[in-house]
Symmetry: C2
Subunit: 252 residues, 2 copies
């Protein structure tokens, strides 16, 4: 593992409060691996032996039932995933698959659980990370139960715009088919939803989207800080906990 990668991991909120001792204990048996696009890292129902850390690339978390599948989240670096299953030493509830070529660090679940039982500060950071993940899912569930398709898309676009810096036009981070699955609809209906948003000042050109009249779109989307997390981009790596705490901006 390169020094620069070690530093990126060390800089994660999950680890930056830990002692050198526990950090070394946790990263001792770790290994960094590169995966091509489309690789299934972990399958639903499998026992989970490692905590995964996405250092570079793009990863999709998906769930399956009755030959249908849906994507529950799309992760960008730097993110940990399946931490909850690791913490409980339980089977995975979702599959993980690379969307692009990705660099992924794998940390021993055993070692992590041992470290949590020893180092209170590390364990506290772990709780914060898990709490942040939990709140992300609460947002997602509210998004799906309370909003219709076009509203979900409108809010997704507004969130993307903010996260990519706020420029009038931005680029979708992945294929539309994946976006459709994330938003809980079919690719066909995503197309139609985009067509609907044309009437609200949204112009689509392949993967490029421009929001020509933000005010009009927001009147449809009705973004809500209790559902949408409009956190602007940050230079430092950020965890699920900080993302939740951002509005109070208690850090920095």
């Amino acid at each position: 593992m390169r020094v620069v990668d070690v530093e990126r991991v060390r800089g994660l909120p999950l680890f930056c409060g830990a002692s050198d001792e526990t950090f070394n204990a946790v990263t001792a048996g770790a290994f960094l691996q590169k995966f091509p696009a489309g690789t299934t890292l972990l399958h639903e129902g499998d026992p989970v032996d490692f905590l995964y850390v996405l250092l570079d690339g793009l990863v999709e978390l998906e769930g399956t039932w009755n030959d249908k599948e849906t994507t529950l989240a799309v992760l960008r670096p730097v993110s940990t995933f399946i931490f909850a299953a690791v913490a409980l030493d339980a089977d995975a509830l979702m599959s993980a698959r690379t969307v692009e070529r990705s660099d992924i660090l794998m940390l021993s679940g055993e070692a992590l659980r041992r470290a949590m039982q020893t180092d209170a500060h590390f364990s506290y950071a772990a709780s914060q990370e898990l709490a942040g993940c939990y709140r992300g899912l609460v947002r997602s569930l509210k998004n799906h139960k309370l909003r219709g398709g076009a509203e979900r898309l409108a809010n997704y676009l507004i969130t993307q715009k903010v996260r990519q810096g706020g420029a009038e036009t931005f680029t979708l981070p992945h294929e539309k088919r994946l976006l459709a699955s994330l938003l809980g609809m079919t690719p066909e209906n995503l197309s139609r939803a985009f067509a609907t948003l044309t009437g609200y000042g949204v112009v689509v050109n392949g993967p490029e989207v421009t929001i020509a009249r933000p005010v009009v779109l927001e009147r449809l989307a009705k973004p809500d800080p209790l559902i949408d997390n409009h956190q602007p981009p940050s230079p430092a790596p950020i965890g699920k906990a900080e993302r939740e705490l951002w509005p109070a901006s208690r850090a920095s």
Copy 2:
């Protein structure tokens, strides 16, 4: 607070591994309160100062957007709630409301966070609780994105049957309007979904439901351990973590 209540709290997985010292520190400023049915304990967006523990009664967690509301969970004793917001000292993402008259214990969030930073074992138990809550939400999200209304109801009924002991007929734990909101549909459509299930051996008599032909219903419901948690009832109080770990039955 009565001795019997103290013991019930002490027996929670969250606390049963903690030292007497941290348990006393956390429960020092705590108070037990009785609320009538229909009381809003906490409103969406409010700062959260306490961890709530439902000792008796029934509590609904609900989310709101654009004058619509949906219930995200219905809790029965003994359960903690809004732990994630407490852990992060963040605003609540959902409201909490009593469905029945309830006994609720309120623990200082400040004290809890301090205890987590001091006592690694307590912090570890907190992580497990949060991880269990997280996985509960993953199940919920998959349930909603992958299944239709009648399927969600069928699985809900099967889960209730198992949790209430497995008898052929059992009683719905609350009003149908609340169930409809939990399942993500209108009361009208819940009625129609029940009518549909009549063809699969489900007989409804007010709040009483009997599953006459379990095999037929299961062929429709296709219950899945990665979505539904068919944990049988237990004499000891159980936390969100244990509920997730049940299939491995590593405790007794």
